[in-house]
C-alpha cells in the first residue's frame, strides 16, 4: 500500500480495529489523507466505511489502533472534541434546520453575539455579521442561492446539500468527511456538489468522500481506498484504466477475473 506520509498528511489512521459483538467491522485499517487531497472510500454495504468515518469523527471508539490529526492523538476523543479539532462530517441526513435561513444554519450553536460579559444565551445576535460571513463563504465556494433570507425548507436538494457542505467547510480547518453527498441528487445537482468538493481541495482542505457512484469518485478523487469486510483491500488512483481493478476489489474478485 502506498500511503502518503510526511508533513502534508493531515489524518493518519493506523491499524484501526473495531468489533461489535461477534462482528468485526474494522480489521486493521490504515489510511492517510493529505492537505488538499480527496480520498474516496469505496466498498460494498457492510464493508466498514460507515464505521471507519464514525470512528474518525469520534462517534465510535476504536478497540485498538490509533487516529492522529496533524500529529494530535484523537483516538479517544468524543464527537465534540473532534469537531473542535477542525473535522466536520456531513451525514446523509444533512442535519439542517429547515426552519432557519442559511446563515442561522451555519452558525447554529456558535452564533456570533455579544457582549461577552453576558451569559451566552442572553447575548445579542450579530445578524449582519453572520449574514456577511455566510455570504463571503458561499462566494468563495461559488455557491449561489436564490435568496439568502429564505429558510432552508424552501431550497432544492442540491441547494440544501450545498448549504450543508459549505457549513462543514466554514468551520473545518483540517478535514471534511462527506457521506454520500450526491446520493439523493439529480445529475446537474450532483455535478455542482462535485464542483464544490473540488473547490475544497483547492482551498487545501482534506476530504474523505464516501460514494457509491464510481463516476463521481473518478471525477473528483485523487485516490480511492477500497474496504471489504473491514479490511483495506486495495488502493489506487480512480482512473478509467483502474476501474475494473477497483470493482474487482469491491466485489472480492482478483483483478484478472473481474468483469
Amino acid at each position: 500500500m502506498n500511503a502518503v506520509t510526511g508533513p502534508a498528511s493531515v489524518l493518519q489512521v493506523r491499524a484501526a480495529c473495531k468489533r461489535f459483538g461477534a462482528v468485526t467491522a474494522l480489521d486493521g485499517v490504515t489510511l492517510d489523507v493529505a492537505r488538499g487531497e480527496v480520498l474516496a472510500l469505496l466498498g460494498d454495504n457492510g464493508a466498514g466505511k460507515s464505521t471507519l468515518i464514525k470512528a474518525i469523527s469520534g462517534v465510535h471508539r476504536l478497540d485498538s489502533g490509533s487516529i492522529t490529526l496533524d500529529g494530535i492523538d484523537i483516538t479517544a476523543a468524543n464527537a465534540m472534541a473532534v469537531r473542535a479539532h477542525g473535522v466536520e462530517t456531513v451525514y446523509q441526513d444533512l442535519a439542517l434546520f429547515d426552519n432557519l435561513d442559511p446563515a442561522a444554519n451555519f452558525f447554529a450553536g456558535r452564533e456570533l453575539a455579544g457582549p461577552s460579559w453576558l451569559p451566552r444565551p442572553l447575548r445579542v445576535l450579530r445578524h449582519r455579521g453572520m449574514t456577511d460571513r455566510t455570504r463571503e463563504l458561499l462566494d468563495r465556494l461559488q455557491v449561489t442561492l436564490p435568496d439568502l433570507e429564505a429558510t432552508v425548507a424552501l431550497m432544492s436538494g442540491g441547494q440544501r446539500q450545498a448549504v450543508a457542505v459549505a457549513r462543514a467547510v466554514a468551520f473545518s480547518s483540517r478535514l471534511v468527511i462527506l457521506d454520500e453527498p450526491t446520493a439523493a441528487l439529480g445529475l446537474r445537482e450532483s455535478a455542482r456538489v462535485l464542483d464544490l468538493v473540488r473547490r475544497l481541495k483547492d482551498d487545501g482542505v482534506a476530504v474523505i468522500l464516501i460514494s457509491h457512484s464510481m463516476d463521481h469518485v473518478m471525477a473528483v478523487a485523487d485516490r480511492a481506498l477500497v474496504l471489504r469486510r473491514g479490511r483495506a483491500v486495495g488502493e489506487t488512483a480512480p482512473t478509467p484504466e483502474n476501474h475494473a481493478q477497483l470493482v474487482a476489489w469491491i466485489v472480492g474478485a482478483t483483478g484478472s477475473q473481474a468483469i
Partner: protein, 367 residues
C-alpha cells in the same frame, strides 16, 4: 455574492463536470414560480386575514362593534388569552405543549390573593403569585427533561390536575375576595389620558401589559441567542444536540417562561375581578393553545411568531365578543372556535403543499 435574477443557480458551473450551457438550460416557467411565491406570501398573512375578515363582518352586522368602548372591552377580555398564548407559543415552537397554564393561573391567583388577605403587602402578594407560576413552569420542565417523561403532554397534564387541586384546597373551594390596588389597576384599569372614552377612558391598562410583554418577547426571540436556540431546538432537536446547543436547558427554560407568563395572566385575572378564584383559569389552556394554532404555529415545531400568536388570541376574543353583541347563544362560541381552528390549520396545510411545490420547482430549474 452573485444572486442571479431568478435564483435558479445553485453552484455556478466551474471546471470539470460541466452542466450544459445556458442555451440548453430548461427553466421552470417563471409564471408558476411567481404564482407560488404570491400564494405563499398570502398564506403567511393568513391569521391576520381571518382577523380582518371577522372585524369587517362584525362591524357591518353590529353598530356598537367598532365603538371605542367595545374595542376597549375586547382588548381587556383578550389580554389574559394573549399573555397565555405568548407563553404557549414558546413551548409549541420547541415541539411541546403546556396544558397546565390554566391551573397555573388559578393557583397563582389564589396564592396571590391569600398573601394579600393575610399579610396586606402588595409587593409580597405580587411576588408570591409570580414565584408560584414560575416554579410550576420549572417543575414542568424538570419533569419532562430530567424526569424523562416521554412527552410534555404527560408532565403538564399531571400539573394541570395537581395545581388545580392545590388551588381548590388552599382556597377551600371559595373565591378569595380582594386584590392589591396595583393589581386591580393593571387588570381592570383604563387609561383616561387616551382620548375618546370620556373621563374614565376606554383603553385598558391590561392591553399595555400585553404590548410590553409581546415587544419584549419579540426582541428576545429574534435578537438573543436564547431565542435562536428555541427555534433551532424546535426545527431539528437532533441537529441542535450535534451543534452543541444545550437542548435540555433550552427546553426547561421555555416552560419556566411559560409558567411566569401564566402568573402575569393570573395578576390580570385577579385585577379584573378584584379576587383570586380557584377556577378562574379553568380551560384557559385550551384558548391559549387554540390561539397559537390559529396564529399558524406548527405543532411539528420550529415555526410560530409572536405577532401571529397575538392575532390568534384576538381572533378568539373578537369572535366571542361579536357573537355576544349579536345575541347568539354563547354555546355557539365554542363551535365557532372549533371551526376557526380547522380553517386556520387547513390554510397551514395548504402552505406546506405550496412550499413543497416551490421546492420541486427549484430542483427542476436546477437540472
Amino acid at each position: 455574492m452573485q444572486v442571479s435574477g431568478h435564483g435558479n443557480e445553485v453552484l455556478a458551473p466551474a471546471n470539470g463536470v460541466r452542466p450544459p450551457g445556458p442555451g440548453t438550460r430548461v427553466r421552470a416557467p417563471l409564471s408558476a414560480r411567481r404564482g407560488l411565491t404570491l400564494a405563499l406570501a398570502t398564506l403567511r398573512v393568513g391569521p391576520a386575514a381571518i382577523l380582518v375578515l371577522l372585524v369587517i363582518v362584525l362591524s357591518v352586522l353590529s353598530d356598537v362593534f367598532l365603538s371605542l368602548e367595545n374595542i376597549g372591552n375586547v382588548l381587556k377580555q383578550s389580554a389574559v388569552i394573549c399573555i397565555l398564548a405568548l407563553g404557549q407559543l414558546l413551548v409549541v415552537v420547541t415541539r411541546g405543549i403546556d396544558l397546565s397554564v390554566g391551573s397555573n393561573l388559578s393557583l397563582s391567583a389564589v396564592i396571590g390573593a391569600l398573601v394579600w388577605r393575610d399579610h396586606g403587602s402588595a409587593t409580597l402578594a405580587v411576588l408570591a403569585a409570580l414565584v408560584t407560576g414560575t416554579v410550576i413552569g420549572l417543575v414542568n420542565g424538570l419533569l419532562y427533561v430530567k424526569g424523562r417523561l416521554p412527552h410534555p403532554f404527560i408532565a403538564t397534564l399531571a400539573m394541570l390536575s395537581a395545581a388545580s387541586g392545590l388551588a381548590l384546597y388552599l382556597s377551600h373551594s371559595e373565591t378569595i375576595q380582594g386584590a392589591p390596588p396595583i393589581v386591580d389597576t393593571i387588570g381592570a384599569g383604563r387609561i383616561a389620558a387616551i382620548p375618546g372614552g370620556g373621563e374614565v377612558g376606554w383603553f385598558p391598562v391590561a392591553a399595555i401589559v400585553v404590548i410590553v410583554v409581546a415587544l419584549l418577547l419579540t426582541l428576545v426571540t429574534r435578537g438573543l441567542i436564547w431565542g435562536r436556540w428555541i427555534y433551532a431546538v424546535g426545527g431539528n432537536p437532533e441537529a441542535a444536540v450535534r451543534n452543541g446547543i444545550p437542548v435540555p436547558s433550552v427546553l426547561i427554560s421555555v416552560y419556566v417562561v411559560c409558567g411566569f407568563l401564566a402568573a402575569i395572566a393570573a395578576l390580570l385575572t385577579m385585577g379584573k375581578g378584584d379576587a383570586g378564584s380557584p377556577t378562574s383559569g379553568a380551560l384557559a389552556e385550551l384558548d391559549a393553545i387554540a390561539a397559537v394554532i390559529i396564529g399558524g404555529a406548527s405543532f411539528l415545531g420550529g415555526r410560530g411568531r409572536v405577532l401571529n400568536a397575538l392575532t390568534g388570541a384576538l381572533v378568539i376574543a373578537v369572535m366571542r365578543n361579536g357573537l355576544n353583541l349579536l345575541g347568539i347563544d354563547p354555546n355557539w362560541q365554542y363551535m365557532a372556535t372549533g371551526a376557526v381552528i380547522v380553517v386556520a390549520v387547513e390554510l397551514d396545510v395548504l402552505r406546506g403543499h405550496f412550499e413543497r411545490r416551490f421546492r420541486s420547482l427549484q430542483a427542476v430549474s436546477d437540472s
